[in-house]
């Protein structure tokens, strides 16, 4: 039922010859996702990653923008150029004003069938996953979800998409050999945000969809924006102090909260303590929680299983505290402390408080 349960099937070694009709598929596409007039940052992150893939293949990188007619939709194309796209496919149609599965599936499917890209990337968001699963089924092609690494296989020029498997304890690489396009989704913050270069420009390829509102069954009656303030914003936090099972009991999370408060950061947690109900789901870091890229990540009592690692290894600096000197987290942290988090965390809180008080005077 999933890639994970499929037995490893070795593709033929060495050069791989693609079917003649599939050779026509060229170029790397990124679906530019937007909601309520704002592009989701994951689309720009994907353009950054797509740029590398396109350069390796020697092909064009294209954005795909579907939206209501108007300047705002066109501006999304400019932004796509600023973030690395060479060209942009643009479908402007009133039926695309709000995301809905049916018209977006039709639009994206039609673009793929008309212009034939070899790779199509989407964000692993509620919109991207809804759309990707529908489009891949309609096109009868392969789709790899929640990739943490995308590369071009040098043997056969196909997309090698890696993702955690078996409950996040190992990684696997998935290929889509004799089908095009090769589709993949990537979660927000997994890939680095590329630099924005407002001097870049590109080609817009307009495509008309000819859909009638009366042909579309599902209607959007309303959109209720989230009240933002009360939700933790882990993916964009500069500092995260996270705790795991090694914190022993929920009351000890106060030590994590104290340190996070001194650093002006957010509290994070590993999967086991969220499952145990110590910390709310919004604070879970890892493959099944949030992916984060803070400047400083402090992990206390977290062993560093793959499923946690893929959610935080993009952090600039990682300080790990664990009683077990062989904990996997020491394989990829910046600084490692073998010791008891319950005594080291309060000491860190105190030292950071003093240091930052001094630094503040200097500012």
């Amino acid at each position: 039922m999933s890639e994970a349960s499929a037995p490893a099937r070795k593709p033929a070694k060495g050069k791989y010859e693609l079917d003649e009709r599939l050779k026509a598929y060229q170029g790397v596409w990124v679906f530019v996702e937007h909601e309520q007039g704002e592009v989701h940052p994951v689309s720009w992150e994907l353009l950054g990653e797509g740029r590398k893939l396109a350069d390796t293949l020697g092909v064009e990188l294209c954005g795909v923008v579907l939206g209501a007619p108007g300047l705002r939709t066109r501006r999304f194309c400019d932004e796509a150029f600023f973030h690395g796209a060479d060209a942009c496919y643009l479908v402007e149609d009133p039926v695309l004003a709000n995301y809905r599965n049916e018209p977006f599936t039709k639009g994206l499917t039609e673009l793929v069938n008309t212009y034939q890209p070899e790779i199509l990337l989407l964000g692993a968001t509620t919109q991207g996953r809804d759309l990707a699963g529908s489009v891949a089924t309609t096109l009868q092609t392969g789709l790899t979800a929640d990739c943490t690494e995308l590369r071009i296989d040098p043997d056969n020029r196909s997309l090698a998409a890696s993702r955690p498997t078996f409950g996040g304890s190992l990684l696997c690489t998935i290929l889509t050999l004799n089908y095009r396009p090769q589709m993949a989704t990537v979660r927000p913050r997994v890939m680095a945000m590329p630099d924005r270069d407002a001097a870049r420009s590109g080609r817009i390829i307009e495509h008309a969809l000819h859909l009638l509102e009366t042909d579309i069954v599902t209607k959007v009656l309303d959109y209720i924006p989230d009240a933002r303030q009360d939700k933790p914003q882990l993916p964009f936090a500069d500092v995260i102090v996270a705790g795991g099972r090694g914190m022993k009991k929920p009351e000890n999370f106060q030590l994590i909260r104290d340190l996070a408060a001194v650093l002006g950061g957010e509290v994070g947690a590993s999967r086991p303590v969220v499952q145990a109900g110590w910390v709310e789901l919004d604070r879970q870091v890892g493959q099944s929680g949030k992916t984060v890229r803070p400047k400083l990540y402090i992990a206390a009592g977290i062993s560093g299983a793959v499923q946690h690692r893929v959610g935080m290894e993009g952090s600039d600096v990682i300080i790990a505290i664990n009683t077990d000197p062989n904990a996997p987290i020491f394989d990829f942290a910046t600084y490692g402390i073998v010791g008891n988090a319950m005594t080291i965390l309060p000491a860190l809180t105190e030292v950071f408080r003093q240091e930052l008080a001094l630094a503040k005077i200097a500012v």
Partner: protein, 281 residues
Amino acid sequence: MHIVVCIKQVPDSAQIRVHPVTNTIMRQGVPAIVNPYDLFSLEEALRLKDRFGGRVTVLTMGPPQAEAALRKCVSFGADEAILVTDRAFAGADTLATSYALAAAIRKIGENEAVDLVFCGKQTIDGDTAQVGPGIAKRLELQLLTYVSQVDDLDLAQRAIRVQRRAEGGVQVLQTTLPCLITMLEGTNEMRFASMDNMFRAARAEVRVWNREQAGIEDVARIGLKGSPTVVSKVFAPKAKEQKAEMIETESDQPRDIALTVVGKLFTQHAKLRGGLAKKLA
């Protein structure tokens, strides 16, 4: 009203262990459970049945032992259980899986038309969230993913209104039956199995369909053959060239350890110190 709920039996991922030397999965003793996300969909289906009447059929594709997961669902209140199992399904990726399940749902619908299909948001072992959308496309059902609430169902008008989780907000969507829904986690709480239902589950006859009985003729579309994706390798993440710099201090005093690591942090990453101070100032 007839509701089909697709479920999957999965290994309890919290209990999967990897052999530290060989990097292989240690499968022994890992208990099998109903995919936790599926239970939110099953509970929603049962609530609709409570309100509007009708029947709930649970469907799974998997090995013969997946029957246990179906019985579990019957103990919560599902009326009927169907297991689609055949060696020909082995190695199916999400595209091949949605093909087989869609065929089975079509077959179920031959006896009694299906008004609603529920799937879990995703599974905890594959985590792809692709099978639900796949089934919807194949059966040409309206697709409602990440539903947090079913607001209204009008069987006479064949209309349904739901709240759907979107990025940064909630969409209120109106569509017509038949449709396919995947429920967001945490939106309801699975009921306790009643004593009656537990007895019923123990005695229930799980219908077992092989490939032909599920109405699948084209063997090229199922199992390994029908799967465009290929797992080329499974591996442990490679160690970084540089492992963590371990903090060594003469005393074991927490304060010395803290002073050492903060000192290193702020000298080796001077910008971080300034950034933090500025943010707090």
